[in-house]
């Protein structure tokens, strides 16, 4: 990186908005601002789109994680094109900080590495979309959906310590088909779903049918208490909490539960799940996944932005911020090429450490919160893992979601572990291979790894390297089902950073959820803070936007 490749200078040099980093929130805002008629420059230091939301081949993935996990030495400051004394602004070096730690990449077989280019590994995995979720609505509304193709996730399971999968009966048809539930359990579960549907229908309409509605007291109570009140057996309760309402923490033990799901939110999550089932006629269930990986989403929004006039420059690191001497306001950025670009507003990747201005001449201009700008919430991290194997974890399905509810792997397990397996028919790996994504929230890397490794242990036959004790124990277990062999794995811990709105705004890191709803909420909010007058993707009558729900390309 010593030799900064020579670039033609960017024209013009003045923009309404400069966005640094092509993560999903930045791409959405770039597209939204472009649609609102703003001139936008979108930069990324990488040679690919997506930053922390990208899908990368095996080599790119490894080097991206490694580069982002070390403290980045700042670029040598190239000579400014503008003489420092003549300028009304100062250039402040821009530093980044590591977003990933404890990266552990293990290769048990040369197969995956040899086919490196055939992989599209999601850096922010595991992720899927709900058919009815905000991201799908946004893609349809913005027109980004025309660049994307999806496939259904075939099934959803709950997994236990022995690696046994049980289907999540998430719909009427699934309950009917399921043979692991007893007849009474089927009845209880379906009645619960009907109760929720009745409540939602009654809430939609006017006050007339208040009987069907769940009482306010119940809505404010913890969801787990409401489920207990409905006399649902533990097995069903756990399915609803962790596989449908997607709770992260053990809801049954208040001490370790950092996030008690209340009934209202629990019901909203069920509603999202149920309205997802059957939204698209050719989708099998509630969940879909983009062909070629999650990184396609950011690219779709970037293409949308480009259509609306946004200028894209990749492989272009930003090395310094240009700050107005007088006010301390940001005026623009200095690129690695040495060019200074100016803009009203600046939106940066969460990995940047925004320097505190040297001499704030007007202290009242400095909002208090700028002191904590981009401070990492050190208490929360997300541990992620990627495994590559040659056979599916479930012999008859290739693309599926599953969850280890709290306490399913070991008694002290306080957090749920989410997982998604994707097969080669989604264009994420060479044919004959499967990619497994795992994630869990954690307090620190040690805890996170412990959780993920327990899950991996339950799923795989770990290749033994000259450890006779180990191999004999594997044989003595005499498993009926042959577990797949792990070929390659990556474990890493990612910081959870929330975006913020300041003179220099920043976007969020990928969160620990399966979908993008929370992230997009924050992104929409940020857009409105940046542009209070503008509508977020105004409804247009252009033909590409009048598409209805069927406008989403779903391969069946």
């Amino acid at each position: 990186m010593d030799e900064t490749p020579s670039y033609p200078p960017i024209e013009p040099t003045d923009f309404d908005l400069i966005v640094v980093g092509t993560g999903l929130p930045q791409s959405v805002i770039a597209a939204a601002a472009s649609s609102a008629g703003k001139s936008v420059l979108h930069l990324d230091s990488n040679s690919f789109y997506g930053s922390h939301f990208s899908s990368l081949n095996l080599d790119e993935f490894s080097s991206f994680l490694t580069s982002q996990s070390a403290v980045h030495s700042s670029h040598p400051n190239p000579p400014s094109s503008v003489a420092a004394d003549a300028a009304e602004y100062v250039a402040l070096d821009l530093k980044t900080r590591p977003m990933y730690s404890d990266v552990e990449i293990t290769s048990h077989s040369s197969d995956p590495v040899e086919h490196s280019r055939k992989f599209n590994l999601d850096v922010s995995g595991p992720r899927v979309l709900f058919c009815a979720d905000a991201a799908v609505d946004l893609m349809l509304k913005s027109g980004a959906s025309q660049y994307l193709e999806f496939k259904s996730i075939d099934a959803s399971f709950v997994c236990d310590a022995d690696g046994r999968f049980s289907t999540v009966p998430d719909s009427r048809a699934a309950i009917f088909k399921d043979r692991s539930l007893s007849l009474t359990e089927k009845n209880q579960l379906m009645r619960f779903f009907k109760l929720i549907q009745g409540h939602l229908a009654a809430s939609d309409e006017a006050e007339n049918d208040s009987n069907a509605r769940i009482s306010e007291d119940d809505l404010e109570s913890p969801f787990v208490e409401f489920l207990n009140k409905m006399r649902l057996p533990p097995k069903i309760k756990s399915m609803i909490l962790y596989a449908i309402a997607m709770a992260d923490y053990d809801q049954d033990s208040i001490e370790v539960c950092k996030d008690v799901l209340d009934t209202k939110i629990g019901i909203d999550r069920l509603a999202l799940y149920h309205s997802s089932v059957g939204r698209f006629p050719n989708a099998l269930g509630a969940l879909i996944y983009p062909i070629y990986g999650q990184g396609e989403l950011t690219q779709a929004f970037c293409r949308r932005a480009a259509v609306k006039g946004c200028i894209y420059v990749l492989r272009m690191p930003v090395i310094a911020l240009l700050m107005e001497k007088e006010s301390g306001h940001c005026k623009g950025v200095r690129l690695a090429s040495g060019q200074d670009i100016f803009s009203q507003k600046l939106l940066v990747d969460p990995s940047f450490i925004v320097p505190v201005p040297v001499a704030p001449s007007q202290p009242d201009c400095m909002p208090e919160s700028s002191q904590v700008i981009n401070l990492v919430d050190a208490k929360q991290k997300v541990a992620r893992g990627i495994c590559i194997m040659k056979s599916s974890l479930k012999p008859d399905v290739s693309n599926f979601v599953f969850v280890y509810p709290p306490r399913s792997l070991y008694p002290e397990q306080a957090m749920a572990i989410r997982a998604v397996q994707i097969g080669s028919n989604l264009g994420v790996c060479p044919s004959g291979m499967f990619v497994l994504y795992l994630s869990t929230l954690c307090n620190d890397a040690t805890q996170g790894k412990e959780l993920l490794q327990a899950a991996i242990k339950s799923l795989f036959t770990l290749p033994v390297s000259g450890n006779p004790e180990n191999s004999s124990s594997v044989h003595s277990e005499n498993m009926e089902e042959v577990k797949p062999t792990l070929l390659w794995s990556a474990l890493y811990t990612q910081e959870l950073v929330m975006g913020s709105f300041e003179s220099i705004s920043s976007t969020s890191m990928p969160d620990g959820n399966l979908n993008y709803n929370v992230l997009l909420d924050a992104t929409v909010k940020l857009f409105h803070q940046m542009y209070p007058q503008e509508e977020f993707f105004p409804e247009t009558t252009s033909p590409e936007n009048v598409e209805d729900d069927d406008g989403l390309s779903l391969e069946s």
Partner: protein
């Protein structure tokens, strides 16, 4: 499709539909012109296509196209390509019409017609069906067509069964899919296809399958309907069975040829008085059968030639199938052989010929025997009976004494069971299945309140009781009767819309309870005595009054009844009564009979002398909505000797009278009570007196 509320049309919609109608009228008149002039040119066909694509319901246009195809074929028979293109054009028109309305009978029929010509690809039809069934998996037109195509292509039933499984798993709320499943399974079971035998194994799997639907969503009725079909498959005998006869097996019948019996010496259950010199022989089957005649039923006796016997179905409709059949045997000449007991033996089922409506033969040989003894009588009794009026007052009835119990009819019902011995050992499985189903439905009902679940439980319990009494006839205990009665009472409250249905079901349960054993039946038997004399033929009256009955049932247990009191019930129909051929005295007063057509079964009771239909609702309702068909002066059921006009007063409304005429004509009633009906007035009474010349009493008044 389904679950979409109908919206009121907007004014602009009305305008659009008027414009559409205008366009259609123009096309329609062009089409009719072409049709009449037999114009089958390309342009003319184009007009019919346009019409059909806008309005697939135009049957004339479809027929026109059929004629056109035949016409055009006759001009191009040599060229296979032309033939093919003619038919593919038809298929294209049908497909476009179905896009307009995928439930158009005419369009689907036309497609069948085209396919049956055999010039088109069947595979393409299956693809089309997949599209239609994806759009609406419950479209029964598509399902019908699927069966047609499957038959045409020779797709095995097993394959089609898998398809129904697939669609049911996608959405089990699908009557059409469940129905198709029952059709396919019926074939597979009947033909004992590999993998579908024995029947018991298949049914167990099907029960398990449908349980998933019942428990997942008990409020969805489609699964329950399939469950009902399974229940029917479980309990219904595969072939028709003789379940009851009169005279009963082993009974000794005493017949009086002239006049009245000497009551003190004889049991009223087995004695029978005959004016006509004949006595009836009644066969009662578990379902309607055809083909009862002197070659399928053999009656052996010294005084009757079997080949002379004429068997008649006891059915009010003109169909030649009935549950009950009757023939009349001549009474042996009393003067030649007084007090001789003549043995009579009846055999049936040895050869095929008695056949149910579903086509299965009565294959179980049945035999029963009884004796007939003729009792000569003094003319004194006969005279006295002829002058007395029957009064249905409670004071005229006396509880039946126990001293004649040994000859009560119940004993004979028990002995009838000899015919049931040849049931296979599978009945153990039947009972086990029923017990299992009862337990499951109880379990479901313990979770939730569910109307159709309760109804199913009631049906299961009744089927179970019937099964148990079938296997152990001597312990005729209807153990679940009280619970079933309670279930129906609950249902009437829960579901008032269908209370009449539940009421009828409840009536049947009540009647089964009454007739199930001799103790309960005897409780309802009374001696009838008039105040002025010691006896009226020593009649025993079966009193089923004040039971809130809304229909008749268990007639097979009551074939012996000569005097029946059904007053103070809620009867709207008396269907079934036609099998009680011995009935002479009948009280139907204080019921809810609403027309004379409801009395149709009485026309088959040739021995009826005394009838009380007072205080009903005859004439109160302008139309009897309960019946779809009724006899009218224009129908032929009344016979050709129609001399109605002779009886009707000139100024009377004919419509008020013809129904009564159709029912009463040919009766030999001596006593009729009809007061308290909307139709009754003096004019009507005098009309009845003319129609019924044998009448001696009307509404309690003696005629002169």
């Amino acid at each position: 499709m389904h679950g979409r509320p109908r919206k009121a049309p907007k004014p602009e919609d009305a305008a659009a539909s008027a414009a559409k109608a205008e366009k259609l009228r123009a096309l329609q008149s062009q089409l009719l012109h072409n049709h009449h002039n037999q114009i089958y040119t390309k342009e003319a066909l184009e007009i019919s296509a346009k019409l059909l694509e806008a309005n697939p319901e135009s049957y004339t246009a479809w027929n026109y196209r059929k004629l056109a195809v035949e016409h055009n074929l006759s001009h191009s028979e040599s060229d296979p390509d032309t033939v093919k293109s003619i038919f593919s054009e038809e298929l294209r028109v049908v497909e476009n019409s179905l896009k307009q309305n995928f439930k158009s009978y005419g369009a689907w029929h036309h497609r069948k017609w085209v396919l049956s010509k055999g010039h088109s690809s069947v595979d393409h039809e299956l693809q089309l069906l997949d599209r239609f069934q994806r759009a609406d998996s419950r479209n029964f037109h598509a399902w019908n067509y699927r069966r047609f195509i499957a038959a045409l292509k020779g797709i095995p039933d097993e394959e089609e069964l898998k398809y129904t499984t697939k669609l049911i798993e996608t959405n089990f709320s699908n009557y059409s899919a469940w129905h198709n499943r029952s059709v396919l399974l019926s074939h597979l079971l009947q033909n004992k296809v590999k993998g579908f035998f024995p029947k018991e194994k298949v049914l167990v799997e099907e029960y398990e399958f449908v349980h998933q639907a019942l428990f997942t969503d008990p409020d969805d009725q489609s699964g329950w309907f399939y469950h009902l079909w399974l229940l029917d498959q479980t309990v219904k005998p595969e072939t028709p069975l003789l379940v009851s006869t009169w005279p009963a097996h082993g009974s000794d019948i005493i017949v009086s040829a002239e006049g009245c019996l000497d009551g003190r010496a004889l049991s009223p259950f087995t004695s029978f008085h005959s004016d006509a010199g004949t006595f009836p022989l009644i066969l009662y089957f578990n379902e309607a059968v055809e083909g009862v005649n002197s070659s399928t039923v053999t009656v052996k006796s010294v005084f009757t030639e079997n080949k002379d016997l004429v068997w008649k179905p006891l059915a009010t409709s003109k169909s030649c199938a009935a549950q009950a059949w009757v023939t009349h045997l001549n009474v042996p000449d009393v003067k030649l052989h007084p007090s001789t007991a003549y043995p009579i033996e009846v055999n049936l089922g040895d050869s095929q010929g008695i056949i149910s409506l579903s086509g299965s033969h009565c294959s179980h040989p049945s035999r029963f025997a009884f004796t007939v003894c003729v009792q000569p009588l003094s003319s004194k009794h006969a005279e006295r009976q002829s002058v007395e009026m029957i009064l249905w007052r409670d004071v005229n009835f006396h509880f039946y004494d126990a001293h004649v119990q040994e000859s009560s009819p119940i004993a004979y019902f028990d002995r009838l069971s000899i015919k049931k011995d040849h049931e296979p050992a599978a009945s153990k499985w039947h009972a086990k299945t029923l017990v299992n189903e009862i337990a499951l439905v109880r379990q479901l009902l313990s979770e939730i309140d569910c109307k159709i679940g309760k109804l199913t439980l009631a049906r299961l319990l009744m089927a179970h009781d019937a099964m148990v009494s079938y296997m152990a006839p001597h312990s005729h205990k209807k153990v679940h009767s009280e619970e079933v009665l309670q279930l129906y009472s609950d249902l009437m409250e829960l579901d008032p819309m269908h209370s009449q249905y539940y009421k009828e079901a409840q009536s049947l349960v009540l009647l089964q309870q009454v007739t199930s054993n001799r103790e309960s039946l005897l409780k309802h038997c009374c001696h009838h005595r008039v105040s002025t004399s010691s006896s009226v033929g020593n009649s025993v009256c079966l009193r089923l009054n004040n039971l809130s009955l809304s229909r008749i049932g268990c007639v097979e247990q009551l074939l012996w009844v000569q005097m029946l009191d059904l007053s103070h019930n809620e009867l709207r129909s008396i269907d079934g009564l036609e099998a009680m051929q011995l009935l002479s005295f009948l009280n139907l007063s204080h019921n809810k009979l609403s027309s004379f057509t409801a009395l149709e079964p009485l026309r088959l009771l040739k021995l009826l002398k005394v009838l009380d239909i007072s205080y009903n609702e005859i004439g109160a309702h302008p139309v009897d909505t309960r019946r779809y068909l009724c006899s009218s002066p224009l129908s032929h059921t009344v016979g050709s000797d129609w001399n109605f006009n002779e009886f009707v007063p000139d100024d009377a409304k004919v419509t008020n009278y013809w129904e009564a005429f159709a029912i009463f004509r040919g009766f030999n009633l001596t006593q009729l009570d009809i007061v308290g009906n909307a139709i009754t007035d003096e004019k009507f009474k005098s009309f009845l007196i003319k129609v019924l010349p044998t009448l001696k009493w009307v509404d309690g008044e003696e005629l002169h």
